[in-house]
């Protein structure tokens, strides 16, 4: 597969397409990726599957740089996908950046 060779940056949409403290998903052939927009307009990207029981993180409530999973309230760090103690687990995180208002995701 060619994707293995290098990650490529893809334009996925404008910042204002995601509400502040909200999230939307990007669907790829292999995964569903949740893109989060924090109150300070930083964006983050995590696999949309909670490390606990695969809950859709994009449906959770965002606060600071964390999201609370809607199914059983695990709290996940947006920066690295780690569950906040005492829970243990990790959701895959993807590189994401802003170029002006455009959100770019590396897959």
């Amino acid at each position: 597969m060619s994707a293995v060779l290098s990650e490529k940056w893809v334009e996925i949409g404008n910042l204002d397409e995601i509400p502040k403290l909200g999230s939307r998903v990007v669907r790829t052939a292999s995964d569903e990726i949740a893109i989060f927009r924090a109150a300070d307009d930083r964006v983050f990207a995590l696999s949309n599957r909670c490390p606990h029981k695969q809950g859709p993180l994009s449906e959770g409530i965002l606060h600071g740089h964390r999201v609370t999973c809607p199914l059983h309230n695990w709290v996940i760090e947006l920066e690295n996908g780690q569950a906040v103690a005492p829970d243990v687990g990790c959701a895959k995180s993807y590189p994401v950046r802003l170029e002006g208002e455009m959100i770019l995701l590396a897959i």
């Binding site: 996925i12 949409g13 397409e17 502040k20 990007v26 669907r27 695969q54 859709p56 409530i61």
Partner: protein
């Protein structure tokens, strides 16, 4: 440069304060700790199980040495401070170590009181305060046979129990005629004495110690009446004295303890003090629960957040002797102004006494069966008016609220380690006990976070509280003034009244006004604040979608596989062939996984993909259907029976009335979900007596019921009143809902709300105060004008479209 904070006393109160402080301000201070004992901080409470051989020292250490390292805390263990120089702002330890401070924290605890009788300093005379004492007792128990414990209080009895476990013959000497007289009345004390005697403990009651006998090592004890007993070991457990010498020598004002104000400051504002060494509002405490409340306040001030006051604690006690169930709280002796409710079963070994003052519990003693201790304690702290539950009060919470789910299991101590406590998350008793001791947990919230017990439906919280109490010997559940969440110290009620008083209309205004610790709250406080805002200012406050749980944001119930369910409203449970056809066609068209009939007389289509929701709603709303709000903290259903239209017993048109009620109330947001029902006669086919608001039709009109619940905790309704016309039913119903909307806390169902404020209060406001009722009714209708719009229709037309589609599809 960082400010320097020095802690004197490496014990439970001091270190807890550091932990709280590090949570708030991890980098503010350079911290140094001095402790007399050569150990890191351990859980003093658990010395009793160590003595009884049920635990090892390692297991009761709360903060390992690595913890101090990780937080850059300099620890001088085994190094008592001997002088505080307040002018130069430094402390001096016995070994010559010095440390300068900007702020000083005193948490020196207390010392056992040694009765000043001849022989009190002989070898083999020991007190019971620290691990060193326990080691000495354990060593003595290996060599010697006979022990005398002086003092029949909590500590003395736990010591005696431990020594019996170690194989010694133990006599307990007590000055009074009642054991644990500070916690028990005579009746409970006598029952306790009997069961301890069955365990092999001997008692000498009303005996005053005159001298400890022996040359070098103790050989016996002599009493005032001249009698003597032999002893190879004497344990003195007659009380404690706050350690105030150091503070006194430094010129800090002391009485029985170091005197502090509500922010835990001594007379020198740079010096804080807390724990057993202090005297606050004339009280010295000897239990850990108050220390934890003090630690929170103190940490808050050290972090310079500047809010939070300590206003004293109400405490409760349990005796940590395996097999003995005993609970005591508050003022259990009573006086001329109090009355008592007592239950005594000598043969069965149970005793319960509640002391009531002005219809509120002011004290409780339970022996033999302490299941309801936590409940009574809560009613007591919250000052709940109990006049409506008087008759059933002694039978406990279970009699009051039926419980489903744990097979009637209600006695934590009788459960084996493998017995399941939390049926939702599959957590056993052993897991919980292990987490409490190995992780050093003290509150139900800690246990929830670490084990997930009680984190889902919450029905096992009572058991978790008992396990905590049995393991730690007290009730550590958070005090009444519980903050909403960790983002603030303010309670639900305070937030809500601030919103009204200062006319705050969005969440940011609340965060700013009330100094929220986090920039945008968390998943606990944001939905609550959003609800308080929209219910206080209908039409003015914007509903914030990002502060809503997914179900309410997306207007469907999320299922465990991430799909949603769709439940259209079927007013009053009456439907038509056209509606049924619409539902059947929708189910076909959108390939729903399963179609279900719900308990609320509706039809549930499960397994719908999120992207399909708007189209499916468009399909249904075009055919005249509305959202059922089956996903929200909102009005759910109005269940009805067929009533006088068809049923031979029917007294009124129950279906028609149900439809009217639902037409009036649908789409109103509430603190929690809200269900109604109307039955056509007292046969009650619509189960109106387990609903939040129920109507039972009778020949002469309508009987109105409130506060029922058919969930985890079954609770039958209370009767509100009887009325004669449908208009009155509507008015009472709306007024009751509005009162609930305005005054219950977010996520509080009507049943616990009524328990908390008392039925009589609600009757007064809805039934007796006619003008008040009409005003509530008017406010409800006003808020409905804003709220009563169908969210499905709006979304079918394109509102919030971003909610339902991916931002981008890559590949395929």
């Amino acid at each position: 440069m960082k400010e320097r904070l020095v802690l004197i006393g490496n014990g439970m109160a001091g270190v807890r304060t550091l932990e709280e402080l590090l949570k708030l301000e991890p980098d503010k201070y350079e911290i140094t700790v001095f402790g007399s004992e050569p150990h890191p901080n351990y859980n003093r409470i658990l010395l009793s199980p160590v003595l009884a051989g049920e635990k090892k020292f390692d297991e009761i250490v709360l903060n390992k040495r690595e913890w101090y390292q990780q937080h850059d805390i300099t620890l001088h263990a085994g190094s008592p401070v001997v002088e505080i120089n307040r002018v130069k702002r430094k402390v001096l330890a016995a070994d010559g170590t010095e440390a300068a401070y900007d702020r000083l924290l005193l948490a020196t605890g207390s010392s056992p009181f040694i009765i000043p009788v001849p022989g009190a300093n002989l070898e083999g005379v020991i007190s019971f305060r620290d691990i060193h004492d326990v080691e000495q007792m354990l060593a003595a128990s290996r060599q010697y046979k006979r022990a005398v414990v002086i003092g029949g209080g909590l500590l003395g009895l736990e010591a005696a129990n431990g020594l019996i476990k170690q194989g010694m013959e133990v006599s307990v000497v007590h000055l009074m005629e009642t054991l644990m007289e500070r916690q028990l009345d005579a009746a409970a004390g006598a029952m306790l004495k009997r069961s301890l005697e069955e365990n092999g403990m001997h008692f000498l009651m009303g005996a005053q110690t005159d001298a400890i006998l022996g040359e070098e090592r103790v050989t016996g004890v002599r009493f005032k009446d001249g009698s003597e007993v032999k002893a190879d070991l004497v344990v003195m457990a007659v009380g404690i004295r706050p350690n105030i010498e150091l503070a006194k020598q430094a010129g800090l004002y002391c009485e029985r303890g170091v005197v502090v104000n509500d922010t835990m400051q001594t007379y020198d504002p740079r010096i804080y003090a807390l724990g057993e060494c202090v005297q606050h509002r004339d009280t010295c405490y000897g239990l850990v629960a108050p220390l934890f409340e003090q630690a929170k306040v103190c940490a808050n001030h050290l972090a310079e957040l500047g809010y939070g006051r300590y206003e004293g604690s109400v405490t409760s006690t349990k005796l940590k002797v395996t097999g003995i169930e005993l609970f005591s709280a508050g003022d259990f002796h009573g006086d001329e102004q109090t009355e008592e409710i007592v239950f005594q079963d000598q043969a069965g070994g149970t005793y319960k006494k509640l002391v009531i003052k002005d219809n509120r519990i002011s004290g409780a003693v339970l022996y033999g069966n302490t299941v309801d201790g936590a409940w009574y304690f809560q009613l007591m702290r919250e000052g709940t008016d109990i006049s409506d539950m008087r008759e059933s009060l002694l039978f406990g919470e279970a009699a009051h609220l039926g419980s489903s789910g744990h097979g009637g299991q209600s006695k934590a101590s009788a459960m084996g380690d493998e017995a399941q406590v939390c049926d939702c998350n599959g957590v056993c008793k052993g897991d919980i006990v292990k987490a409490i001791t190995s992780e050093g947990l003290f509150t139900v919230d800690d246990v929830k976070a670490h084990t997930k017990a009680g984190a889902s439906c919450g029905s096992c919280i009572g058991l978790v509280e008992q396990i905590l109490a049995n393991t730690l010997g007290g009730d550590y559940s958070a005090p009444e003034a519980k903050p909403i969440c960790a983002c603030t110290d303010f309670t639900h009620d305070q937030v809500r009244s601030t919103i009204r008083e200062y006319e705050l209309i969005d969440k940011q205004a609340v965060f700013d006004k009330m100094d929220w610790r986090t920039p945008d709250g968390c998943h606990v406080c944001r939905p609550a604040i959003n609800y308080y805002l929209i219910s206080a200012w209908p039409g003015k406050a914007q509903d914030d979608a990002q502060s809503r749980f997914v179900n309410e944001r997306v207007h469907g119930n999320i299922q465990k596989d991430g799909t949603f369910s769709v439940i259209p409203r079927i007013l009053g449970g009456r439907t038509t062939p056209d509606e049924l056809r619409a539902i059947a066609d929708a189910a076909d068209k959108f390939n729903v996984g399963e179609v279900n009939l719900t308990g609320g007389q509706r039809i549930n289509m499960l397994g719908v993909k999120k992207e399909d929701l708007p189209a499916m709603w468009a399909f249904l709303t075009e055919r005249g259907m509305l959202s059922g709000h089956a996903y929200g903290k909102a009005l759910r259903t109005v269940k009805t029976c067929v009533g006088s239209t068809w049923c031979r017993f029917g007294t009124q048109d129950s279906t028609g009335l149900g439809i009217k009620l639902e037409e009036m109330t649908w789409a109103s947001w509430m603190p929690h979900k809200f269900k109604m029902a109307v039955s056509g006669c007292p046969r009650n086919c619509a189960e109106a007596t387990i609903k939040d608001f129920g109507v039972v039709c009778v020949d002469s009109g309508y009987e109105l019921h409130i506060g029922g619940n058919g969930g985890v905790k079954v609770r039958a309704t209370d009767v509100l009143c009887r009325v004669t016309t449908e208009e009155e039913v509507m008015e009472h119903c709306a007024a009751f809902i509005q009162l609930y909307r305005e005054e219950a806390r977010y996520l509080e169902r009507t049943a616990p709300w009524i328990e908390r404020v008392g039925l009589s209060d609600i009757k007064k406001r809805i039934v007796e105060d006619v003008r008040g009722r009409k005003a509530l009714y008017a406010r409800f209708l006003e808020s409905q004008e804003v709220a009563q719009h169908d969210p499905w229709t709006a979304r079918a037309k394109g509102a919030e479209a971003h909610e339902f589609t991916p931002i981008k599809q890559i590949g395929e």
